[in-house]
Symmetry: D2
Subunit: 340 residues, 4 copies
């Protein structure tokens, strides 16, 4: 069994990782850390795991983690991850980083959108963007995976086939995403309190969300030239799920059926993408707790627009599930192990 | 006191009408009808009104309604409204129709999108589209108001200033709307059941929703030429509220501040439109139970897009509240009576 | 117009007070205060009121409040209210205190359950417990109303008729209450965050909630002897509403119909209590936004239990609405003014 | 691999069964049936399973099911199950029936509470009540398991230790349960629609719910004499989860700590019961998607009551998970297979 550690186990993403990994046939979770003063049984912090996981949750001690684990999942805030990644990599560990710290090859881009200096820029070159549907081979060969953001996962998977195959233009792309509240993390915040979020729907950070450059970088790679998108995130009163509706201009007349065929062909080898049958549209409910990305695409000839829609569970395909998918590739396991 | 009837009082819209009208200083609700076999106390059908409204809810008898009321609200499904509207109009009643039956001057357009023949097309000429922010004077002079759809209300108010002032082009407009579940009406339906809607977010009828031509007709009037929009509605797991995010291309460079000024000027005389301060974005929670439409607009120069956002309560500004606003105009009352 | 101030206007209760009072025919809201560094337009703190209320929200300056208002609503945490109440009373203001500070005649009881010393105990004698259904005459004659807690309002109204008329014994009473999340106040808290509360149902503070002695004191007064209850509160994933299910032992055989008659007779003069028709049970939805308490009672002869059920909106009859009802009595207005 | 069929696969319980069984290491799902006119891919009816399950969902043909499966799960309405159970048993199949049809040894009791005649009463004697915590040995030896109701599972597990050990009296037991909406099944119903259930909390069928005699029968067996309970169910605006709060009278003074010890001892061998640490109370969120029953118990000496609290996922431990647990026992598999 490969020994794995979760650094930052008590957030929503860390907790979801634990839930997935304890059912994984090829790994043993050997270390859980969190921002704590002293070790506590994991069931004390996360009652969901009482009786299921017999490990303490401990303050982070990198030496101890190195002793106990071969693969380290970093489920930490951006800016915090970068330092620890270096520590673990230098000791030969494989690192799956769920923060944004290694998602950009371009250090300046990171620093501009995240507003902090990058302190481990020497590793940017070896980090691989962990979207297996587009980077499977590279992920297999790396020790440092930059696990994609939740919004970018849904947005890129929805739009990539259109740009890769030239069915839509790269200009004027609009990406309107709607996320459940766990996407904002597990923390005390008035804005995230039940009373403020329930029976509320709102947009935020239109055009200025930090996931924008991540989406643009990947779509630019796919399109073979720079892509600028208008990205508008919204908050949905539900726990989990992101639905993304993307609007593009077709390059030439194309039918919905032809678009669906194009998507099926593009994702033929991707075990976690499901292109829906014509007419059916994705629903976050259908991917709840699953690592799938459900996709559909509609050609509206009347309005001259292609509309691509994706649904993911933000904590699974948008975070922990995809991280495990990446671990499977990095470790040479079957890609779907522990995920189906 | 002006005597008013609600025909179709037990749906979500009819019930909201009753809630508003019992607090209105110039009217008395004198008749409530619903699809029933025999009269029942309104509190039996709608326990919310027990002890507050001392009226029976009766099967619809047009003669009786004519005797009892001067103004008739039709809160009926489309296709059903048209016949009754004729009956009430021919007896000199003022009619506020909340269905889609009189929203189109163009009968063929109605028949194409709604799939049924229009049986009261003779009245289409005198019907006025009841969006007071754009048609106040005409509404004051009519006896037949076609109360706008919930989605169109939010979409048109969000986009109209940009087209009226030429700040955005009329091509390639994308309107992405998100509605609470009561927008689909009060009825037994598996798709609308709690188990299917809760913790679910989904798109539906992309490019084919029947509110599309209504939005296009009004925006075309405002723009002074035909407008085609891509309209994509979504279902939000909440009871009330519609948030609309509209994407347009600017005609020339313009700042967010200038756009906000343009909106404030455009709606200076509109008592129920609130243009938010720069930076703040609408939230459906802020208009819950209120007749306001909250608006904001963002110029994203980087992506070359203008994003206009509106929030309404679908049952108030999107239906019953706007219907009362229209009644106020039709009856010569102050526009805000009973609504603030 | 009577001039009123809301001290603590930005919490859920203060905001609900404002919503009710701006529609009240006999008062003018003249002062709003909150924990702020400098005055801001109320719409900045509470966007719901933008364009509706033309007042700043200011840091609390008691002198200024005294100049501007005749009646002062204190919507402050317990322990904070007591000091300000004294200030306003000594200057001849009428005070409606929504905290727990003046709900107990017995200072020691307060100090035991709330764990802090009482600093205005000299006023306990003149404070009247503001449950109009039981204390209307005394409320009319006081200047200091202790507005009841949300749970006690629902619990006492459900149980009082049974004890007052001797239909149930005073021993072994169980009160199982379920409250929406706004009952816990408007604040940043992990436990109250959407991610923790949504799709969650839990009990808390069983037998140790600070509303227990408040319920017992009032029920004891009604029964004419000490009453001890087991009070178990629960948190419901909704914004508003408290449903209380109370279990008692009948003194002698009695039917559901006779119990319903007893309730109707007991509350015959109470404008805000609705005893439901036989068979129907309260639903928090029916009192959403209303000042009503809906009641029903069931005699289960098989199990030898009487079950009384009440539903209120915790922010209305459980807080702000009842506070206005009390103000109406204190000021000599019709009891229902501004509330129907 | 043991071959299993799910008869009634498209309801919430059937769908949950499928989700669990496809991850079970010792079985293969070979047949799925539902009320259909013709076979359809399971992903058409239940998009969640698209790409995960390569089976059609077919109209029920008992012969075909017999050919394909060794174990049959009946996820059918009560009254429908009984006939099919007979069919499958007579052909030597093992049957796990999730309806109420075989839960009562006493046919008259069934007929009185369910209001229909029993048409397979000859099998009542061999049916075993499938609560493994109380009937493990009997379940191992039967071919017909009557899987318990969701409410009874939570209620019986909460109360049984107190009666079995004589810590509480068998008189005057009150069981106040709160269930998520999926407990009412997957169907079109106005009362179960989102608009009616969301932001609503209500009691129903107080003292008359059909799960009452099921709870009483089991608790009577545990106590060794007849037990009558007051059972009051409530509907919570969430999808999954039942929290049960049970109130009993202690036989003699006992502390919370001693009660917790008693519970831990009573359930020492039960792999799916988790007695929480002192002070912590169950939350349905902690068992979401899990087969655990979380328990706590509080002695309130002041009020003279013992309060036992349980949380389960109504679709897992309350239905499908427990059914698989029973299958494991019936088939001689480890009890926890496929469930942890």
């Amino acid at each position: 069994m490969t020994r794995v550690a979760i650094v930052g186990a008590t957030g929503y993403t860390g907790s979801e990782l634990l839930d997935i990994l304890i059912g994984h046939p090829r790994v043993a979770v050997t270390s859980l850390t969190a921002k704590l003063d002293a070790p506590v049984p994991v069931g004390t912090e996360l009652p969901r795991f009482a009786g299921r996981v017999d490990l303490p949750c401990t303050p982070l001690d990198p030496d101890e983690v190195c002793e106990k684990a071969d693969v380290v999942f970093l489920s930490l805030p951006h800016g915090v991850s970068m330092a620890y990644a270096e520590t673990f990599l230098s000791r030969g560990k494989k690192v799956i980083d769920l923060s944004a710290d290694f998602r950009f090859g371009d250090r300046a881009l990171y620093e501009r959108w995240y507003g902090i200096p990058h302190r481990a820029a020497g590793r940017l070159g070896e980090a691989v963007y962990g979207l297996p549907e587009l980077h499977e081979a590279e992920i297999r060969g790396t020790s440092l995976v930059a696990n994609p953001g939740c919004y970018p996962t849904g947005a890129i998977l929805a739009v990539a086939p259109l740009l890769a195959r030239g069915a839509a233009g790269a200009e004027g792309i609009v990406i309107d995403s709607k996320s459940g509240v766990t996407g904002a993390g597990r923390r005390a915040s008035l804005a995230l309190s039940f009373g403020e979020c329930h029976e509320s729907f709102r947009a935020y950070k239109i055009g200025s969300h930090q996931h924008t450059p991540e989406i643009e970088a990947e779509l630019g790679r796919v399109a073979g030239r720079p892509v600028t998108v208008l990205f508008a995130p919204h908050l949905v009163p539900m726990n989990r799920g992101i639905l993304t509706t993307a609007y593009l201009a077709p390059r030439s007349a194309i039918s919905t059926d032809d678009l669906l065929d194009l998507y099926r062909e593009f994702y033929a080898a991707a075990p976690f993408v499901r292109v829906m049958d014509g007419g059916a549209l994705p629903d976050t409910k259908n991917v709840l707790g699953l690592n799938y990305c459900d996709l559909s695409v509609v050609a509206d000839e009347r309005a001259g627009r292609i509309v691509a829609v994706s649904a993911i569970d933000n904590l699974v395909k948008g975070a922990a599930g995809q991280a495990v998918q990446n671990m499977n590739l990095v470790c040479g396991f079957p890609q779907t192990d522990g995920l189906v």
